[in-house]
């Protein structure tokens, strides 16, 4: 078998929280030994209860935060950001779409510049080339060149989410970690983004780690599904297996609680 693009071995992460003036400080074990690997051109979906450690893991996988312990390998190379500086090559290879797009955009930077910045820092493209690529990317995510000169606050929630996706795609990363990337999008724009991600994956063999609580989206996009519960992996299998026969209790509850959007269930609710 080929070498995985991403391999996580026994990753842990503790947060130390101060307990106020006299309170004892406390340790939160947000990740308790995570193991998995993802192969080129595949999509691994991560699901799990709110607070189970998904975003914490996402920041470690994308080399933003260090793990407390464990080994992270990208294309077979062990990386520990606490010890060694990141190379520009690695920075380009791995991108993230944050759960909270507003917080990740500089309020004083125009959207066009937001998109061009990664190109400016990491490539030798000319100003003209950069502008052209930014305009094209805006169109791909369902916005337009007329948005180039606007600031982040001038966009709707879903538009900002798409800007964050566009920015992450500018450098065509090898590995893209998306943290709830379509959660604020209406179904039609969501479909457009999911189609775009699928196209890019097919064309460029991109690898995705896709965090989502929306099971219908997971079912559409994932090759494999990893279920987390209180900082641990409790189930990790192929999409078809997991949807056909969820094993862990949390996975079963998750599947059973999915709200139904059909006429029958509305009738039932209204008759009560």
């Amino acid at each position: 078998m080929t070498q995985p693009v991403l391999k996580a071995e026994n990753i842990t992460r503790d947060y130390h929280v101060k307990g106020g003036l006299w309170g004892k400080s406390k340790t939160v074990n947000a990740l308790k030994g995570i193991n998995f690997e993802v192969h080129e051109g595949k999509t691994l979906a991560i699901v799990g209860e709110s607070g189970c450690g998904k975003s914490t893991l996402a920041r470690i996988l994308t080399l933003i935060d260090p793990a407390t312990s464990g080994d992270l390998k990208i294309d077979g190379q062990s990386i520990n950001i606490a010890k060694t500086k990141l190379t520009p090559e690695l920075r380009q290879k791995v991108q993230i779409v944050f759960q909270n797009p507003y917080g990740s955009l500089n309020p004083r930077q125009k959207i066009g510049k937001v998109l061009e910045e990664p190109l400016l820092l990491n490539t030798k493209k000319t100003a003209g080339e950069r502008k052209k690529l930014a305009d094209e990317m805006l169109v791909k995510v369902g916005l337009g060149p007329e948005h180039y000169h606007r600031y982040p606050h001038m966009f709707s929630g879903g538009q900002r989410q798409r800007i964050a996706i566009a920015r992450a795609l500018m450098l065509t990363p090898r590995l893209l970690v998306l943290d709830e990337p379509v959660s604020a999008l209406d179904l039609s724009v969501q479909a457009q983004i999911l189609n775009l991600l699928a196209d890019l994956q097919e064309e460029l063999n991109l690898t995705y780690v896709f965090i989502s609580h929306d099971l219908s989206v997971v079912k559409y996009i994932a090759d494999e599904v990893l279920v987390m519960y209180f900082g641990e992996v409790v189930e990790h299998r192929s999409r078809d297996e997991i949807f056909a026969n969820p094993q862990h209790e949390y996975t079963q509850t998750l599947f059973a609680a999915t709200p139904r959007a059909d006429v029958e269930s509305i009738r039932e609710r209204l008759s009560n």
């Binding site: 909270n100 179904l187 699928a198 099971l215 559409y220």
Partner: protein
């Protein structure tokens, strides 16, 4: 009498590429105890309409309306002081981006306590109990230790739930919930929706629920409004909307559910509506 009445609401923004009309003559009303769901394309003006009504848009926005009434009171002529009094106690809003609307400098307990101090007559001990009760209601485990957490120490869904706790703290007459459960998995989503529906039934609170999740609409709404490019496309009781959607955009919305994917492509609005 309606609790909220909006007639011919328009919002325009000055942008570098000219005037942009975000909202183009939208009218609707909400009764006490009613759940109105607003669905519509990203960028169609759902949030802008709510911010206009609360007087929270930036100065670059030009707002006009024939009517903007809450409980018979004209929202257009309120001075800032009257508005502050109304907002938080009688009208509360759960914002679409929770972390952006919590104050990063104060812990959760402090922020909840301030809301209760400003808008209720509860004493110190009662406020503390109420804080814990609210956090428990929104499904935050170990509420007591959470009181000391700062927003950046919480997960996305935890912030969203604290925001919800703040919004319902003062038993508002109208709760505007802008995508309130986007960051939550379905198990917690269900708990939050039940909480909101209970409040609505017990206190006759009216609820405006902005959501793109048709499952949430199906499970909560009495009536649904569909918005597209700043205009109101369709308004119908919830059952009618799902049973016989009239507008092409509504049909597109319902068929874009990923579970309706045929083959490996998802249908988008462009497949239904001519631009």
């Amino acid at each position: 009498m309606s609790l909220l009445e909006i007639e011919n609401l328009r919002v325009e923004f000055d942008t570098s590429s000219g005037v942009f009309r975000a909202l183009d003559g939208v009218s609707y009303s909400v009764d006490p105890g009613e759940v109105l769901a607003i669905v519509g394309e990203s960028g169609s003006g759902k949030s802008v309409a709510m911010l206009a009504l609360m007087g929270l848009l930036p100065k670059t926005a030009k707002v006009s309306a024939d009517k903007l009434l809450f409980n018979g009171q004209d929202l257009k002529t309120l001075n800032p002081k009257q508005r502050r009094k109304l907002i938080g106690s009688e009208i509360a809003m759960i914002f679409q981006e929770p972390i952006a609307s919590l104050n990063p400098c104060f812990n959760v307990g402090f922020q909840l306590n301030e809301a209760l101090k400003t808008h209720t007559d509860l004493g110190k001990a009662a406020r503390r109990d109420r804080c814990l009760e609210l956090l428990n209601d929104v499904g935050i485990p170990d509420p007591k230790s959470r009181l000391k957490s700062y927003p950046h120490q919480m997960s996305g869904g935890q912030c969203q739930r604290v925001m919800i706790a703040m919004a319902i703290a003062c038993s508002p007459k109208l709760l505007i919930a802008d995508e309130p459960t986007t960051a939550l998995d379905v198990t917690i989503q269900r708990q939050i929706l039940e909480l909101l529906m209970n409040l609505q039934q017990q206190t006759k609170m009216a609820l405006i629920m902005i959501t793109h999740d048709m499952g949430v609409v199906a499970q909560t709404a009495d009536r649904v409004i569909v918005q597209y490019k700043g205009k109101l496309m369709e308004e119908a009781p919830v059952l009618d909307l799902f049973e016989s959607p009239k507008n092409p955009y509504t049909k597109a919305l319902l068929s874009a559910l990923p579970e309706n994917a045929t083959g490996d492509r998802l249908p988008t609005v462009a497949d239904f509506v001519q631009a």
